[in-house]
């Protein structure tokens, strides 16, 4: 299979404009003849559904939550980047493009990233017009801050709730279209399969999570905006319901899955406190602007009150190893170093959990408080300090915070071309669910930007182009054989889970075990032997899961949260295996993918000669034997260099 990116050629700053100028359109009176399915109601899905509804398409939008307003985009704290240059500090579309390509460690497609940077400014205009209350200066104009070590202040923010405010903006646009009748919303409805007819994506199979009813929905186009797969680790900063089922089922129906091993571990999360922990909480990365990261130099000090440890016995490991960037090194570097001091040097200060090294490092505000005063520091980080105290019982003003990295974002996802179309014609993928813009590592404040660029501006346009070319797709009804077969298959899959022969444990038990394997072998640091081991363990555990998973109540036609989880865990097993295989095959280190065999002085060593490509995997029918394809990446505008933060 040849992967065609369909990216335009010519000067990069003209590509999107030229592409739009020469694409097909659908006339207004014809749009209402087309049904578009959008799965997911976060920034990408909600914005796409609202915009396409506004354009006159018949839109059906699905989400598993009880309201589209609850999609996990809501939890993003920090901000959204845009090349507005309101601060007059030399920012530009090109610079945002450059930073994003470099930050992604030269593993993203240049044309896509440039378009993203170009669209960033229109997103801010759109959001403000909707009433999104971004932070403002006393003069009444929008405020910006520098984020994640960027050299310019291009991040727009809304206290620590930027994701919430942007999502509520998209949600209000969506509700407006629902009221207008152009969008029909299906909350508490989960997509369990994709319907492909005559080579094109033509619908989905869903389960109503209240009644358990399984049915087919037919459309001319299917858009997936279903988020990332970070919950494969069991513990992550994702919402509990985030899952890979929609993308994985599309993958099994022919959509290639690209770079699954690119996952992002966020350095500033609250450490795990015990075995029953259900999720991890992120603390905004902005804390590293004023907090200093350290551990005791001597293992025997790890139990002591941190304030009693004298300065000379403190190991400020980021400042010592990276004098230029210090505590502001990128996420992957900060995370990996925290892991080294805890797991290799045994200097961790996190909670004691039986059978594990103590995982946690201090993030200390004492210096900032003595320099700026308590008032200023609390004004900057008060809401985060409160959140931390609520969870841990400690006040960061009095005693240093403890932090440890956690899975936060997944750069990999379904392979898409420049039009965000997957390898199945008529199946489009936006937001975190696709692989397209962040390469091997995502920069801070870029996820919201990508979700909204895809949702408001790229997907509605690309869908129009596709339908303009296709015109009338072959007739298909919900009671046609292909749909009925798909419904039957889904029912059989659920029955298999409900009727496991030696039912013993709920799905969470297996999810936790799977998560442990992935975290250990395919987390912040990966090795050949470890990955091979994981590839042996996962299929064994998967077999055990199908034998022993216990679903109560043992029927599907009812509200059944255990069944929902079991069905998601089943797909995580297959995805987890592909992640490890992808990580094993990629014999280099880049961005969030760090292979112990490929490093120079502890830093990631890319192999551009052999791996300057996206790896896109094709389902072969056997979860352990997928077929690997490559899309070569070319860099005309940003020359690959080694990332160095020393």
């Amino acid at each position: 299979m040849e992967l065609k990116s369909h990216e335009p050629t010519g000067p990069i700053e003209q590509r999107w404009t030229e592409h739009k100028a020469h694409s097909k359109l659908v006339a207004p009176h014809n749009r209402r003849k087309h049904t578009v399915i959008v799965v997911g109601s976060g920034l990408a899905g909600g914005a796409a559904a609202a915009t396409m509804g506004e354009l006159g398409y018949k839109v059906k939008c699905f989400c598993y939550q009880d309201s589209p307003r609850r999609a996990h985009s809501i939890a993003a704290q920090g901000g959204i980047n845009a090349a507005k240059n309101y601060q007059n500090d030399g920012d530009s579309v090109f610079r945002l493009f450059y930073d994003t390509v470099k930050g992604g460690d030269f593993r993203a497609r240049e044309s896509n990233v440039y378009r993203l940077a170009e669209l960033s400014t229109a997103i801010i205009d759109q959001a403000v017009a909707q009433g999104v209350p971004f932070a403002r200066e006393y003069g009444g104009l929008l405020a910006n801050r520098s984020f994640g070590g960027a050299q310019v202040s291009r991040t727009f923010y809304a206290r620590g709730q930027t994701g919430q405010q942007l999502l509520l903006g998209a949600y209000s646009a969506l509700e407006r279209q629902i009221a207008a009748g152009s969008v029909k919303m299906y909350p508490r409805t989960e997509m369990l399969d994709l319907i492909v007819y005559e080579g094109r994506a033509r619908g989905i199979v869903t389960r109503d999570m209240v009644t358990g009813k399984i049915e087919a929905h037919v459309a001319d186009v299917v858009v997936l905006a279903t988020g990332g797969y970070g919950n494969v680790f069991y513990l992550s900063t994702n919402a509990k319901g985030c899952n890979t089922t929609a993308t994985w089922r599309a993958h099994r129906k022919g959509a290639l899955f690209a770079n699954p091993c690119y996952t992002q571990i966020h350095p500033t999360c609250i450490p795990r406190s015990g075995e029953t922990q259900s999720k991890l909480t992120l603390m905004s990365e902005s804390l590293r602007n004023d907090g200093r990261v350290w551990v005791p130099r001597k293992p025997e000090d790890c139990d002591k009150d941190p304030k009693s440890i004298p300065e000379k016995d403190r190991y400020y490991f980021l400042e010592e190893r990276y004098p230029a960037f210090g505590n502001l090194v990128p996420r992957d570097v900060a995370s990996r170093n925290a892991m080294y001091v805890c797991e290799n040097d045994h200097l961790g200060v996190g909670p004691k959990i039986p059978g594990e090294p103590r995982r946690g490092v201090y993030l200390d505000f004492a210096d900032a408080i003595s320099r700026l005063g308590k008032h200023t520091v609390v004004e900057r980080y008060g809401n985060l300090f409160e959140m931390y105290e609520r969870i841990t019982g400690d006040d960061p003003v009095e005693t240093p915070m403890k932090i440890y990295p956690a899975t936060h974002y997944t750069m990999g996802g379904l392979w898409v071309d420049y039009n965000l179309e997957s390898t199945i014609p008529g199946l489009f993928v936006g937001g975190e669910a696709n692989f397209s813009d962040h390469g091997a590592n995502r920069l801070g404040a870029s996820a919201l930007m990508q979700g909204l660029a895809d949702g408001y501006f790229v997907l509605p346009f690309s869908v129009g182009n596709y339908l303009g070319e296709l015109r009338t797709p072959p007739a298909l009804e919900e009671d046609d054989a292909v749909c009925k077969d798909a419904v039957r298959e889904v029912k059989a899959r659920l029955t298999k889970l409900i009727e496991a022969p030696a039912a013993k444990h709920g799905p969470d038990h297996f999810h936790r075990l799977l998560g442990n394997i992935i975290w250990k072998y395919c987390g912040m640091s990966r090795s050949r032997d470890g990955l091979k081991d994981a590839l042996k363990q996962i299929p064994e555990l998967r077999e055990q899961f199908y034998r022993e998973v216990k679903v109560v109540p043992n029927k599907d036609e009812t509200l059944n949260q255990t069944l929902e989880r079991a069905s998601r865990v089943a797909d995580f097993f297959e995805l987890g295996e592909l992640m490890c295989l992808d990580a094993l095959t990629r014999e280099e280190s880049c961005g969030g993918h760090f292979r112990t065999e490929h490093q120079v002085d502890g830093e990631a060593k890319r192999d551009d000669e052999k791996f300057q490509h996206a790896a896109a995997w094709e389902w072969s029918g056997d979860a352990s034997k997928p077929v690997r394809h490559e899309e070569q990446l070319t860099f005309e505008y940003v020359k690959p260099t080694m990332r160095s933060y020393k």
Binding site: A47, T51, E54, Q65, D66, S67, R69, R70, H72, I74, A75, K84, Y86, D125, Q126, V128, A129, Q130, G131, P133, F134, A135, R136, G139, G140, L141, L142, Q161, Q164, Q165, L168, Y171, S172, A173, E175, R176, A179, P187, V210, A239, K240, G241, S273, G274, T276, S278, T281, M387, R390, G393, Y456, K504, H505, G506, D508, K550, V551, V552, L559, T562
Partner: protein, 263 residues
């Protein structure tokens, strides 16, 4: 690390037409570090292993921002701690209160029918937003974001209202099951901003009328909603909403007559 045994009385109801009742469970080895929902997760895992129907409850982000979790705990919507969602309650807080016994119920309001156990249907809140909780702006047609400066105090005040997470605790806490705080938060957020002026009068009229039609009660100034609100949204917004509502009814000459002062 402190560990306790907690007796739980949980509302169980198989569906909207079932009468429902409390059932009693014992949660063992509850540690101070667990969250309230993790205590229930643990109990549910044991129920599943015993072949018993686990307790159904809504939850998602577990960070206090998505608004999905919804439990009345010992009579308090989201528990007694201020500015806290159910998912943000840690057992340390429960231990501190000396509680060994906890009663857990769903949101109770006619407009929130119970689906199962602690899960209720809150689509009525979405319908209130559909009635006008937006600014009508077409994608791609916005002017430059910095063209209209907004005084910081106004922007901050709008933000205070915009923090609503739509959880419905205000409805659950209100003796009238009114959605006034929820509605007023959206009305207030948009009424304060210059972008929201064009539809200000029609918005408040339509949203309040829809709230009434959906069976929510009226506001009689109990103030329970403000106390229960996990985001601390002030009932002052209800007063501002009522003032706008009154103006819209008296003027009733369409949006051209929208008052131009900030609320």
């Amino acid at each position: 690390m402190k560990t306790k045994t907690i007796k739980l009385h949980v509302w169980r109801q198989s569906g909207p037409n079932d009468a429902g009742r409390f059932e009693t469970y014992t949660a063992e080895n509850v540690t101070e570090h667990m969250s309230f929902l993790e205590m229930l997760d643990d109990l549910n895992e044991k129920l599943i292993a015993d072949g018993k129907d686990p307790i159904a409850f809504d939850h998602d982000c577990r960070e206090g921002i998505c608004g999905m979790c919804s439990m009345v705990i010992n009579g308090y919507a989201h528990g007694p701690d201020e500015r806290t969602t159910t998912c943000q309650i840690h057992m340390r807080h429960v231990f501190d209160r000396g509680w060994d016994e906890v009663w857990i119920e769903p949101w109770r309001a006619t407009s929130f029918p119970i689906r199962k156990d602690l899960i209720v249907d809150r689509t009525a809140l979405d319908k209130i937003i559909q009635a006008g909780g937006y600014i009508s702006i077409r994608t791609g047609s916005a002017r430059d974001a910095n063209e209209a400066p907004i005084p910081k105090p106004i922007a901050d005040r709008a933000f205070d209202a915009a923090t609503c997470i739509g959880c419905g605790a205000c409805v659950a806490a209100c003796p009238n099951a009114s959605a006034s705080l929820f509605t007023a938060a959206k009305v207030g957020h948009l009424a304060l901003l210059p972008q929201g002026q064009a539809e200000r009068m029609s918005r408040v009229k339509s949203m309040v009328a829809t709230m009434d039609e959906l069976g929510f009660g009226g506001c009689t100034n109990h103030g329970e909603c403000e106390k229960a609100c996990p985001k601390g949204i002030s009932i002052d917004f209800i007063a501002s909403m009522n003032r706008d509502l009154l103006k819209s009814l008296v003027v009733d000459r369409g949006d051209a007559e929208a008052p131009d002062e900030g609320a």
